[in-house]
Amino acid sequence: MRYMILVKSIPTFEAQPDTGFQPDPAVFTAMTTYHEELARAGVLLDANGLKPTRSGWRVRYEGERRSIIDGPFTESKELIAGYTLIQVNSREEALEWARRFPNPVGAGQPAEIEVRELFEMDDFAPSDELERFRAIDAAI
Protein backbone atom coordinates (compact mmCIF):
# COMPACT_ATOMS: atom_id res chain seq x y z
CA MET A 1 0.00 0.00 0.00
CA ARG A 2 1.22 3.44 -0.82
CA TYR A 3 0.43 6.59 1.06
CA MET A 4 1.24 10.18 0.26
CA ILE A 5 1.98 12.54 3.11
CA LEU A 6 0.99 16.01 1.91
CA VAL A 7 2.39 19.06 3.64
CA LYS A 8 -0.09 21.95 3.65
CA SER A 9 1.28 25.33 2.77
CA ILE A 10 1.29 28.44 4.95
CA PRO A 11 1.75 32.11 3.95
CA THR A 12 5.45 31.95 4.96
CA PHE A 13 6.08 29.07 2.51
CA GLU A 14 4.32 31.01 -0.21
CA ALA A 15 6.60 33.98 0.44
CA GLN A 16 9.81 31.94 -0.01
CA PRO A 17 12.22 33.12 -2.69
CA ASP A 18 12.64 30.79 -5.69
CA THR A 19 16.38 30.32 -5.21
CA GLY A 20 18.86 30.77 -2.42
CA PHE A 21 16.13 29.78 -0.01
CA GLN A 22 17.36 29.07 3.52
CA PRO A 23 14.96 26.78 5.37
CA ASP A 24 14.78 26.94 9.14
CA PRO A 25 17.84 24.87 10.15
CA ALA A 26 16.01 23.04 12.94
CA VAL A 27 13.15 22.04 10.62
CA PHE A 28 15.58 21.10 7.88
CA THR A 29 17.57 18.84 10.22
CA ALA A 30 14.44 17.18 11.57
CA MET A 31 13.12 16.58 8.03
CA THR A 32 16.43 15.15 6.84
CA THR A 33 16.67 12.82 9.83
CA TYR A 34 13.08 11.68 9.37
CA HIS A 35 13.53 10.94 5.69
CA GLU A 36 16.79 9.11 6.36
CA GLU A 37 14.87 6.95 8.78
CA LEU A 38 12.20 6.24 6.15
CA ALA A 39 14.89 5.30 3.66
CA ARG A 40 16.65 3.08 6.16
CA ALA A 41 13.41 1.23 6.78
CA GLY A 42 13.04 0.76 3.03
CA VAL A 43 9.65 2.50 2.90
CA LEU A 44 10.55 5.78 1.17
CA LEU A 45 9.59 5.91 -2.52
CA ASP A 46 9.78 9.59 -3.28
CA ALA A 47 9.76 12.98 -1.58
CA ASN A 48 9.93 16.56 -2.81
CA GLY A 49 9.27 20.11 -1.75
CA LEU A 50 7.28 22.33 -4.09
CA LYS A 51 8.16 25.89 -5.05
CA PRO A 52 5.62 28.60 -4.12
CA THR A 53 2.54 28.89 -6.31
CA ARG A 54 3.69 32.12 -7.93
CA SER A 55 5.80 30.04 -10.31
CA GLY A 56 2.89 27.68 -10.99
CA TRP A 57 -0.41 27.95 -12.84
CA ARG A 58 -3.81 26.37 -13.15
CA VAL A 59 -5.72 25.23 -16.19
CA ARG A 60 -9.44 25.86 -15.91
CA TYR A 61 -11.93 23.94 -18.06
CA GLU A 62 -15.19 25.69 -18.94
CA GLY A 63 -17.17 23.96 -21.68
CA GLU A 64 -14.73 23.55 -24.54
CA ARG A 65 -12.55 26.43 -23.38
CA ARG A 66 -9.36 26.06 -21.42
CA SER A 67 -7.90 29.07 -19.69
CA ILE A 68 -4.57 29.39 -17.91
CA ILE A 69 -4.57 31.12 -14.53
CA ASP A 70 -1.14 32.08 -13.28
CA GLY A 71 -0.13 31.84 -9.63
CA PRO A 72 0.31 32.98 -6.94
CA PHE A 73 -2.77 31.54 -5.30
CA THR A 74 -3.94 32.80 -1.97
CA GLU A 75 -5.98 30.13 -0.19
CA SER A 76 -2.84 28.69 1.41
CA LYS A 77 -4.77 26.11 3.44
CA GLU A 78 -5.67 24.44 0.16
CA LEU A 79 -2.16 24.54 -1.22
CA ILE A 80 0.45 21.80 -1.08
CA ALA A 81 4.03 22.68 -0.14
CA GLY A 82 5.55 19.23 -0.47
CA TYR A 83 4.92 15.51 -0.42
CA THR A 84 6.48 12.28 0.83
CA LEU A 85 5.48 8.99 -0.78
CA ILE A 86 5.83 5.82 1.29
CA GLN A 87 5.11 2.15 0.74
CA VAL A 88 3.98 0.18 3.78
CA ASN A 89 2.12 -2.97 4.72
CA SER A 90 -0.82 -1.58 6.60
CA ARG A 91 -2.81 1.55 7.32
CA GLU A 92 -1.48 1.44 10.90
CA GLU A 93 2.10 1.46 9.67
CA ALA A 94 1.38 4.53 7.55
CA LEU A 95 -0.28 6.15 10.54
CA GLU A 96 2.74 5.39 12.73
CA TRP A 97 5.13 6.95 10.21
CA ALA A 98 2.86 9.96 9.76
CA ARG A 99 2.73 10.45 13.52
CA ARG A 100 6.51 10.82 13.49
CA PHE A 101 6.56 13.39 10.68
CA PRO A 102 8.32 16.53 11.97
CA ASN A 103 6.30 19.72 12.23
CA PRO A 104 6.96 21.25 8.80
CA VAL A 105 6.65 24.82 10.06
CA GLY A 106 8.72 24.47 13.21
CA ALA A 107 8.24 22.94 16.65
CA GLY A 108 5.27 24.46 18.46
CA GLN A 109 3.93 26.26 15.35
CA PRO A 110 0.45 25.55 14.02
CA ALA A 111 0.74 23.35 10.92
CA GLU A 112 -1.04 20.53 9.16
CA ILE A 113 -0.15 17.53 7.05
CA GLU A 114 -2.62 15.30 5.27
CA VAL A 115 -2.17 11.62 4.44
CA ARG A 116 -3.88 9.97 1.47
CA GLU A 117 -3.82 6.42 0.17
CA LEU A 118 -2.93 5.91 -3.49
CA PHE A 119 -5.00 3.87 -5.90
CA GLU A 120 -3.08 0.80 -7.00
CA MET A 121 -3.18 -0.58 -10.51
CA ASP A 122 -5.11 -3.64 -9.40
CA ASP A 123 -7.82 -1.43 -7.90
CA PHE A 124 -8.89 -0.89 -11.49
CA ALA A 125 -10.58 -3.56 -13.56
CA PRO A 126 -8.05 -5.08 -15.97
CA SER A 127 -8.66 -4.43 -19.61
CA ASP A 128 -9.14 -7.41 -21.90
CA GLU A 129 -5.83 -8.50 -23.30
CA LEU A 130 -5.05 -9.47 -26.81
CA GLU A 131 -3.90 -13.06 -26.23
CA ARG A 132 -0.64 -13.16 -28.08
CA PHE A 133 2.04 -15.60 -27.09
CA ARG A 134 5.74 -15.38 -27.49
CA ALA A 135 8.04 -17.25 -25.15
CA ILE A 136 10.37 -14.69 -23.73
CA ASP A 137 12.14 -14.54 -20.40
CA ALA A 138 11.44 -17.50 -18.18
CA ALA A 139 10.13 -14.88 -15.75
CA ILE A 140 6.88 -13.65 -17.21
Binding site: M121, E129, F133, I136, I140
Partner: protein
Amino acid sequence: MTVPKPTADAITRTIAAIWRIESAKVVAHVARITHDLGLAEDCSQDALVAALEHWPELGIPERPGAWLMTTAKRRALDHLRHRKLAAPRHDALGHETDLQYAIAAQEFSEMIDTRLDDDICDELLRLIFTACHPLLASESRSALTLRAIGGMSTAEIARAYLKPEATIAQRIVRAKRTLAEARVPFEVPRGEELQARLASVLEVLYLMFNEGYCASSGPHWTRPALCEEALRLGRVLVGLMPQQAEVQGLLALMELQASRLVARLDAQGQPILLAAQDRSRWDALLIRRGLDALARAEALPSPVGPYVLQAAIAACHARAASVDATDWPHIVALYDALLQIAPTPVVALNHSVAVGMAFGPAAGLEQVNALQNEPALAQYHLLPAVRGDLLTRLGRNDEARAEFERAAKLAGNAHERALMQKRAAQSSTRPASTVP
Protein backbone atom coordinates in the same frame (compact mmCIF):
# COMPACT_ATOMS: atom_id res chain seq x y z
CA MET B 1 -12.81 16.81 17.27
CA THR B 2 -12.71 14.17 20.00
CA VAL B 3 -10.78 11.03 19.39
CA PRO B 4 -12.71 7.92 20.39
CA LYS B 5 -10.87 5.50 22.66
CA PRO B 6 -9.19 2.94 20.41
CA THR B 7 -10.41 -0.63 20.62
CA ALA B 8 -8.12 -3.38 21.86
CA ASP B 9 -7.94 -4.71 18.33
CA ALA B 10 -6.86 -1.32 17.00
CA ILE B 11 -4.12 -1.08 19.64
CA THR B 12 -2.88 -4.56 18.72
CA ARG B 13 -2.69 -3.53 15.07
CA THR B 14 -0.85 -0.35 16.02
CA ILE B 15 1.64 -2.34 18.09
CA ALA B 16 2.19 -4.67 15.14
CA ALA B 17 2.91 -1.65 12.93
CA ILE B 18 5.32 -0.16 15.48
CA TRP B 19 6.99 -3.55 15.73
CA ARG B 20 7.54 -3.71 11.99
CA ILE B 21 9.20 -0.31 12.13
CA GLU B 22 11.34 -0.94 15.21
CA SER B 23 12.07 -4.66 15.38
CA ALA B 24 15.16 -4.84 13.16
CA LYS B 25 16.79 -2.07 15.19
CA VAL B 26 15.93 -3.76 18.47
CA VAL B 27 17.15 -7.21 17.41
CA ALA B 28 20.31 -5.82 15.82
CA HIS B 29 21.21 -3.73 18.84
CA VAL B 30 20.59 -6.45 21.39
CA ALA B 31 22.50 -8.98 19.26
CA ARG B 32 25.41 -6.58 19.16
CA ILE B 33 25.54 -6.81 22.95
CA THR B 34 24.69 -10.50 23.42
CA HIS B 35 26.78 -11.63 20.42
CA ASP B 36 24.01 -14.13 19.79
CA LEU B 37 21.28 -13.54 17.23
CA GLY B 38 19.00 -16.25 18.57
CA LEU B 39 19.04 -14.88 22.10
CA ALA B 40 18.56 -11.34 20.83
CA GLU B 41 15.58 -12.43 18.77
CA ASP B 42 14.00 -14.24 21.73
CA CYS B 43 14.48 -11.22 24.02
CA SER B 44 13.03 -8.91 21.38
CA GLN B 45 9.99 -11.16 21.10
CA ASP B 46 9.66 -10.98 24.89
CA ALA B 47 9.66 -7.19 24.63
CA LEU B 48 6.92 -7.38 22.00
CA VAL B 49 4.84 -9.63 24.25
CA ALA B 50 5.37 -7.19 27.13
CA ALA B 51 4.18 -4.33 24.92
CA LEU B 52 1.07 -6.30 23.96
CA GLU B 53 0.41 -6.82 27.67
CA HIS B 54 1.07 -3.33 28.98
CA TRP B 55 0.31 -0.82 26.24
CA PRO B 56 -3.43 -1.47 25.99
CA GLU B 57 -3.57 -0.57 29.74
CA LEU B 58 -1.01 2.22 29.93
CA GLY B 59 -1.36 3.65 26.46
CA ILE B 60 1.40 3.69 23.84
CA PRO B 61 4.58 5.29 25.19
CA GLU B 62 5.85 8.56 23.76
CA ARG B 63 8.90 6.79 22.35
CA PRO B 64 7.82 3.22 21.69
CA GLY B 65 11.10 2.23 20.05
CA ALA B 66 13.12 3.14 23.12
CA TRP B 67 10.64 1.30 25.37
CA LEU B 68 11.02 -1.88 23.30
CA MET B 69 14.79 -1.51 23.19
CA THR B 70 15.15 -1.10 26.95
CA THR B 71 12.79 -3.98 27.68
CA ALA B 72 14.61 -6.31 25.27
CA LYS B 73 17.98 -5.41 26.76
CA ARG B 74 16.76 -6.06 30.30
CA ARG B 75 15.51 -9.47 29.18
CA ALA B 76 18.89 -10.18 27.67
CA LEU B 77 20.61 -9.23 30.92
CA ASP B 78 18.30 -11.52 32.92
CA HIS B 79 19.05 -14.33 30.48
CA LEU B 80 22.78 -13.92 30.71
CA ARG B 81 22.70 -13.80 34.51
CA HIS B 82 20.57 -16.90 34.57
CA ARG B 83 22.83 -18.65 32.14
CA LYS B 84 25.87 -17.67 34.19
CA LEU B 85 24.33 -19.10 37.34
CA ALA B 86 23.43 -22.30 35.52
CA ALA B 87 26.72 -22.77 33.75
CA PRO B 88 29.55 -20.34 34.41
CA ARG B 89 31.07 -19.24 31.15
CA HIS B 90 34.01 -16.96 30.93
CA ASP B 91 32.56 -14.90 28.11
CA ALA B 92 29.19 -14.24 29.74
CA LEU B 93 30.85 -11.88 32.16
CA GLY B 94 32.04 -9.59 29.40
CA HIS B 95 28.58 -9.57 27.85
CA GLU B 96 27.03 -8.68 31.14
CA THR B 97 29.34 -5.71 31.54
CA ASP B 98 28.36 -4.61 28.03
CA LEU B 99 24.72 -4.95 28.93
CA GLN B 100 25.00 -3.20 32.26
CA TYR B 101 26.68 -0.33 30.53
CA ALA B 102 24.10 -0.25 27.75
CA ILE B 103 21.22 -0.19 30.18
CA ALA B 104 22.80 2.50 32.32
CA ALA B 105 23.36 4.60 29.24
CA GLN B 106 19.76 4.06 28.22
CA GLU B 107 18.74 6.39 31.04
CA PHE B 108 20.21 9.20 28.96
CA SER B 109 17.76 8.37 26.27
CA GLU B 110 18.23 11.43 24.09
CA MET B 111 21.93 10.78 23.97
CA ILE B 112 21.53 7.12 23.27
CA ASP B 113 19.25 7.84 20.34
CA THR B 114 21.92 9.81 18.57
CA ARG B 115 24.51 7.17 19.28
CA LEU B 116 22.17 4.41 18.19
CA ASP B 117 21.61 6.09 14.88
CA ASP B 118 25.36 6.20 14.32
CA ASP B 119 25.73 2.52 15.08
CA ILE B 120 22.53 1.19 13.62
CA CYS B 121 23.72 0.83 10.02
CA ASP B 122 26.59 -1.36 11.08
CA GLU B 123 24.34 -3.33 13.41
CA LEU B 124 21.71 -3.89 10.72
CA LEU B 125 24.37 -5.14 8.34
CA ARG B 126 25.65 -7.58 10.96
CA LEU B 127 22.08 -8.74 11.44
CA ILE B 128 21.49 -9.28 7.71
CA PHE B 129 24.77 -11.12 7.17
CA THR B 130 24.20 -13.35 10.18
CA ALA B 131 20.61 -14.24 9.28
CA CYS B 132 21.68 -15.05 5.69
CA HIS B 133 24.70 -17.11 6.76
CA PRO B 134 25.56 -19.83 4.21
CA LEU B 135 25.73 -22.31 7.08
CA LEU B 136 21.93 -22.24 7.20
CA ALA B 137 19.64 -24.05 4.80
CA SER B 138 18.17 -21.77 2.16
CA GLU B 139 14.62 -21.80 3.51
CA SER B 140 15.87 -21.19 7.07
CA ARG B 141 17.75 -18.13 5.90
CA SER B 142 14.61 -16.61 4.38
CA ALA B 143 12.46 -17.40 7.40
CA LEU B 144 15.00 -15.99 9.85
CA THR B 145 15.50 -12.90 7.69
CA LEU B 146 11.79 -12.17 7.49
CA ARG B 147 11.41 -12.72 11.21
CA ALA B 148 14.48 -10.89 12.54
CA ILE B 149 14.79 -8.10 9.97
CA GLY B 150 11.32 -7.92 8.45
CA GLY B 151 9.56 -7.96 11.81
CA MET B 152 7.07 -10.49 10.45
CA SER B 153 5.36 -12.95 12.74
CA THR B 154 5.68 -16.69 12.20
CA ALA B 155 2.04 -16.73 11.09
CA GLU B 156 2.65 -14.01 8.49
CA ILE B 157 5.69 -15.82 7.10
CA ALA B 158 3.73 -19.08 6.96
CA ARG B 159 0.93 -17.34 5.03
CA ALA B 160 3.41 -15.82 2.61
CA TYR B 161 5.01 -19.19 1.88
CA LEU B 162 1.75 -21.16 1.98
CA LYS B 163 3.29 -23.41 4.63
CA PRO B 164 1.99 -24.57 8.01
CA GLU B 165 2.98 -22.26 10.85
CA ALA B 166 4.70 -25.11 12.70
CA THR B 167 7.01 -25.69 9.73
CA ILE B 168 8.14 -22.07 9.70
CA ALA B 169 8.53 -21.97 13.49
CA GLN B 170 10.70 -25.07 13.29
CA ARG B 171 12.87 -23.54 10.56
CA ILE B 172 13.48 -20.47 12.68
CA VAL B 173 14.29 -22.46 15.81
CA ARG B 174 16.64 -24.69 13.86
CA ALA B 175 18.36 -21.70 12.26
CA LYS B 176 18.96 -20.05 15.63
CA ARG B 177 20.29 -23.29 17.08
CA THR B 178 22.65 -23.81 14.14
CA LEU B 179 24.05 -20.29 14.53
CA ALA B 180 24.50 -20.72 18.29
CA GLU B 181 26.13 -24.16 18.03
CA ALA B 182 28.54 -23.04 15.35
CA ARG B 183 29.31 -19.93 17.41
CA VAL B 184 28.81 -17.81 14.32
CA PRO B 185 30.19 -14.37 15.20
CA PHE B 186 27.77 -11.45 14.93
CA GLU B 187 29.74 -9.43 12.42
CA VAL B 188 30.03 -8.22 8.85
CA PRO B 189 32.59 -10.31 6.93
CA ARG B 190 35.61 -8.50 5.56
CA GLY B 191 37.88 -8.69 2.55
CA GLU B 192 37.47 -11.61 0.21
CA GLU B 193 34.91 -13.28 2.41
CA LEU B 194 32.59 -10.29 2.02
CA GLN B 195 31.82 -10.98 -1.66
CA ALA B 196 31.05 -14.65 -1.07
CA ARG B 197 28.83 -13.86 1.89
CA LEU B 198 27.17 -10.97 0.06
CA ALA B 199 26.22 -13.40 -2.71
CA SER B 200 24.38 -15.42 -0.08
CA VAL B 201 22.49 -12.34 1.15
CA LEU B 202 21.49 -11.34 -2.38
CA GLU B 203 20.39 -14.89 -3.15
CA VAL B 204 18.12 -14.94 -0.09
CA LEU B 205 16.41 -11.72 -1.18
CA TYR B 206 16.09 -12.76 -4.82
CA LEU B 207 14.68 -16.19 -4.00
CA MET B 208 12.20 -14.50 -1.67
CA PHE B 209 11.22 -12.09 -4.42
CA ASN B 210 10.82 -14.83 -7.00
CA GLU B 211 8.78 -16.98 -4.67
CA GLY B 212 6.27 -14.13 -4.52
CA TYR B 213 6.66 -13.21 -8.18
CA CYS B 214 6.11 -16.60 -9.74
CA ALA B 215 3.77 -18.06 -7.12
CA SER B 216 3.62 -21.13 -9.35
CA SER B 217 2.49 -23.31 -6.48
CA GLY B 218 -1.19 -23.36 -5.67
CA PRO B 219 -4.12 -22.53 -7.94
CA HIS B 220 -4.69 -19.04 -6.52
CA TRP B 221 -2.63 -15.99 -6.92
CA THR B 222 -1.83 -14.48 -3.53
CA ARG B 223 -1.02 -10.84 -3.11
CA PRO B 224 2.75 -10.83 -3.35
CA ALA B 225 3.71 -10.01 0.23
CA LEU B 226 7.05 -11.70 -0.32
CA CYS B 227 7.81 -9.51 -3.34
CA GLU B 228 7.11 -6.38 -1.38
CA GLU B 229 9.15 -7.50 1.61
CA ALA B 230 12.11 -8.58 -0.54
CA LEU B 231 11.94 -5.24 -2.31
CA ARG B 232 11.84 -3.36 0.97
CA LEU B 233 14.84 -5.31 2.29
CA GLY B 234 16.64 -4.64 -0.99
CA ARG B 235 16.04 -0.92 -0.49
CA VAL B 236 17.35 -1.21 3.07
CA LEU B 237 20.47 -3.03 1.87
CA VAL B 238 21.18 -0.43 -0.82
CA GLY B 239 21.05 2.24 1.88
CA LEU B 240 23.57 0.25 3.92
CA MET B 241 25.91 -0.77 1.08
CA PRO B 242 25.50 1.81 -1.70
CA GLN B 243 28.98 1.12 -3.10
CA GLN B 244 28.26 -2.52 -3.98
CA ALA B 245 27.22 -2.71 -7.64
CA GLU B 246 25.49 -6.07 -7.23
CA VAL B 247 23.37 -4.73 -4.37
CA GLN B 248 22.27 -1.84 -6.60
CA GLY B 249 21.83 -4.33 -9.44
CA LEU B 250 19.57 -6.63 -7.44
CA LEU B 251 17.46 -3.68 -6.30
CA ALA B 252 17.18 -2.45 -9.90
CA LEU B 253 16.14 -5.92 -11.05
CA MET B 254 13.48 -6.25 -8.35
CA GLU B 255 12.10 -2.72 -8.89
CA LEU B 256 11.85 -3.33 -12.65
CA GLN B 257 10.22 -6.74 -12.28
CA ALA B 258 7.83 -5.43 -9.63
CA SER B 259 6.79 -2.68 -12.04
CA ARG B 260 5.19 -5.41 -14.18
CA LEU B 261 3.46 -7.28 -11.36
CA VAL B 262 -0.11 -6.21 -12.00
CA ALA B 263 0.23 -6.45 -15.78
CA ARG B 264 1.21 -10.12 -15.57
CA LEU B 265 -2.26 -11.46 -14.97
CA ASP B 266 -5.54 -11.10 -16.81
CA ALA B 267 -8.99 -10.70 -15.29
CA GLN B 268 -9.20 -14.47 -14.74
CA GLY B 269 -5.85 -14.55 -12.99
CA GLN B 270 -4.14 -16.19 -15.94
CA PRO B 271 -0.55 -15.18 -16.63
CA ILE B 272 0.07 -12.83 -19.53
CA LEU B 273 3.48 -13.13 -21.13
CA LEU B 274 5.71 -10.12 -21.42
CA ALA B 275 5.07 -9.69 -25.13
CA ALA B 276 1.31 -9.48 -24.62
CA GLN B 277 1.24 -7.32 -21.51
CA ASP B 278 -0.55 -3.99 -21.54
CA ARG B 279 2.45 -1.74 -20.99
CA SER B 280 0.26 1.12 -19.80
CA ARG B 281 -0.26 -0.95 -16.65
CA TRP B 282 3.45 -1.07 -15.85
CA ASP B 283 4.26 1.03 -12.82
CA ALA B 284 6.11 4.14 -13.99
CA LEU B 285 7.45 5.06 -10.55
CA LEU B 286 8.99 1.62 -10.01
CA ILE B 287 10.47 1.68 -13.52
CA ARG B 288 12.07 5.02 -12.77
CA ARG B 289 13.42 3.75 -9.45
CA GLY B 290 14.76 0.64 -11.17
CA LEU B 291 16.48 2.61 -13.92
CA ASP B 292 17.98 4.95 -11.29
CA ALA B 293 19.37 2.00 -9.31
CA LEU B 294 20.78 0.49 -12.51
CA ALA B 295 22.46 3.80 -13.39
CA ARG B 296 24.02 3.89 -9.91
CA ALA B 297 25.24 0.30 -10.35
CA GLU B 298 26.75 1.00 -13.75
CA ALA B 299 28.54 4.09 -12.42
CA LEU B 300 30.40 2.01 -9.81
CA PRO B 301 33.90 0.74 -10.61
CA SER B 302 33.32 -2.84 -9.49
CA PRO B 303 33.10 -5.54 -12.18
CA VAL B 304 29.67 -6.23 -13.66
CA GLY B 305 27.93 -9.15 -11.99
CA PRO B 306 24.87 -11.28 -12.81
CA TYR B 307 22.33 -9.03 -11.03
CA VAL B 308 23.45 -5.89 -12.84
CA LEU B 309 23.27 -7.73 -16.18
CA GLN B 310 19.79 -9.11 -15.47
CA ALA B 311 18.68 -5.64 -14.40
CA ALA B 312 20.07 -4.23 -17.64
CA ILE B 313 18.01 -6.79 -19.59
CA ALA B 314 14.89 -5.92 -17.59
CA ALA B 315 15.63 -2.24 -18.29
CA CYS B 316 15.64 -2.89 -22.06
CA HIS B 317 12.07 -4.18 -21.74
CA ALA B 318 11.06 -1.34 -19.43
CA ARG B 319 12.34 1.31 -21.83
CA ALA B 320 10.53 -0.17 -24.84
CA ALA B 321 7.07 1.13 -25.64
CA SER B 322 6.25 -2.17 -27.36
CA VAL B 323 7.74 -5.60 -28.12
CA ASP B 324 8.72 -4.44 -31.57
CA ALA B 325 10.40 -1.34 -30.18
CA THR B 326 12.61 -3.46 -27.91
CA ASP B 327 16.35 -3.24 -28.49
CA TRP B 328 16.76 -6.99 -29.07
CA PRO B 329 20.38 -6.85 -30.31
CA HIS B 330 21.32 -5.13 -27.05
CA ILE B 331 19.51 -7.82 -25.08
CA VAL B 332 21.41 -10.51 -27.02
CA ALA B 333 24.70 -8.79 -26.09
CA LEU B 334 23.68 -8.67 -22.42
CA TYR B 335 22.79 -12.38 -22.48
CA ASP B 336 26.16 -13.08 -24.11
CA ALA B 337 27.82 -11.37 -21.15
CA LEU B 338 25.57 -13.20 -18.69
CA LEU B 339 26.48 -16.54 -20.30
CA GLN B 340 30.14 -15.72 -19.66
CA ILE B 341 29.67 -15.36 -15.89
CA ALA B 342 26.52 -17.41 -15.15
CA PRO B 343 26.18 -20.04 -17.87
CA THR B 344 22.96 -21.75 -16.81
CA PRO B 345 20.71 -23.62 -19.28
CA VAL B 346 17.79 -21.25 -18.58
CA VAL B 347 19.98 -18.24 -19.40
CA ALA B 348 21.03 -20.02 -22.60
CA LEU B 349 17.37 -20.60 -23.49
CA ASN B 350 16.49 -16.94 -22.91
CA HIS B 351 19.52 -16.00 -24.97
CA SER B 352 18.17 -18.06 -27.89
CA VAL B 353 14.77 -16.35 -27.58
CA ALA B 354 16.48 -12.96 -27.79
CA VAL B 355 18.49 -14.16 -30.81
CA GLY B 356 15.21 -15.21 -32.47
CA MET B 357 13.78 -11.74 -31.86
CA ALA B 358 16.92 -9.87 -32.92
CA PHE B 359 18.13 -11.91 -35.90
CA GLY B 360 15.09 -13.91 -37.02
CA PRO B 361 13.55 -17.30 -36.19
CA ALA B 362 16.11 -19.38 -38.09
CA ALA B 363 18.99 -17.98 -36.02
CA GLY B 364 16.99 -18.50 -32.84
CA LEU B 365 16.14 -22.09 -33.76
CA GLU B 366 19.79 -22.89 -34.37
CA GLN B 367 20.56 -21.73 -30.81
CA VAL B 368 17.66 -23.66 -29.26
CA ASN B 369 18.54 -26.86 -31.10
CA ALA B 370 21.93 -26.77 -29.41
CA LEU B 371 20.08 -27.05 -26.08
CA GLN B 372 17.97 -30.07 -27.05
CA ASN B 373 20.18 -32.54 -25.19
CA GLU B 374 20.65 -30.39 -22.11
CA PRO B 375 19.58 -32.65 -19.21
CA ALA B 376 18.63 -29.70 -16.99
CA LEU B 377 16.03 -28.62 -19.57
CA ALA B 378 14.66 -32.11 -20.30
CA GLN B 379 11.54 -31.49 -18.20
CA TYR B 380 11.36 -27.73 -18.77
CA HIS B 381 8.19 -26.90 -20.71
CA LEU B 382 9.54 -23.60 -22.03
CA LEU B 383 12.13 -25.40 -24.19
CA PRO B 384 9.55 -27.01 -26.52
CA ALA B 385 7.41 -23.86 -26.17
CA VAL B 386 10.23 -21.72 -27.51
CA ARG B 387 10.96 -24.22 -30.30
CA GLY B 388 7.27 -24.32 -31.20
CA ASP B 389 7.11 -20.56 -31.39
CA LEU B 390 10.17 -20.30 -33.64
CA LEU B 391 8.92 -23.15 -35.89
CA THR B 392 5.56 -21.36 -36.20
CA ARG B 393 7.34 -18.22 -37.33
CA LEU B 394 9.15 -20.34 -39.93
CA GLY B 395 5.82 -21.75 -41.16
CA ARG B 396 6.71 -25.31 -40.06
CA ASN B 397 3.32 -25.88 -38.43
CA ASP B 398 3.32 -29.68 -38.03
CA GLU B 399 6.61 -29.63 -36.15
CA ALA B 400 5.39 -26.65 -34.12
CA ARG B 401 2.26 -28.53 -33.07
CA ALA B 402 4.32 -31.49 -31.83
CA GLU B 403 6.44 -29.11 -29.76
CA PHE B 404 3.43 -27.37 -28.20
CA GLU B 405 1.91 -30.75 -27.34
CA ARG B 406 5.14 -31.74 -25.62
CA ALA B 407 5.17 -28.40 -23.78
CA ALA B 408 1.57 -28.97 -22.63
CA LYS B 409 2.58 -32.35 -21.15
CA LEU B 410 5.46 -30.76 -19.23
CA ALA B 411 3.65 -27.60 -18.10
CA GLY B 412 3.72 -27.05 -14.35
CA ASN B 413 0.24 -25.67 -13.90
CA ALA B 414 -3.18 -25.74 -15.53
CA HIS B 415 -2.94 -22.23 -17.01
CA GLU B 416 0.28 -22.97 -18.85
CA ARG B 417 -1.03 -26.33 -20.01
CA ALA B 418 -4.18 -24.73 -21.44
CA LEU B 419 -2.11 -22.09 -23.21
CA MET B 420 0.15 -24.72 -24.81
CA GLN B 421 -2.84 -26.82 -25.91
CA LYS B 422 -4.38 -23.74 -27.47
CA ARG B 423 -1.19 -23.06 -29.41
CA ALA B 424 -1.05 -26.69 -30.55
CA ALA B 425 -4.63 -26.39 -31.85
CA GLN B 426 -3.77 -23.15 -33.64
CA SER B 427 -0.85 -24.87 -35.36
CA SER B 428 -3.19 -27.50 -36.82
CA THR B 429 -5.44 -24.92 -38.46
CA ARG B 430 -2.79 -22.52 -39.66
CA PRO B 431 -1.93 -22.69 -43.38
CA ALA B 432 1.72 -23.45 -43.97
CA SER B 433 3.60 -20.35 -44.96
CA THR B 434 7.02 -18.90 -44.59
CA VAL B 435 7.30 -15.89 -42.42
CA PRO B 436 9.86 -13.34 -43.51
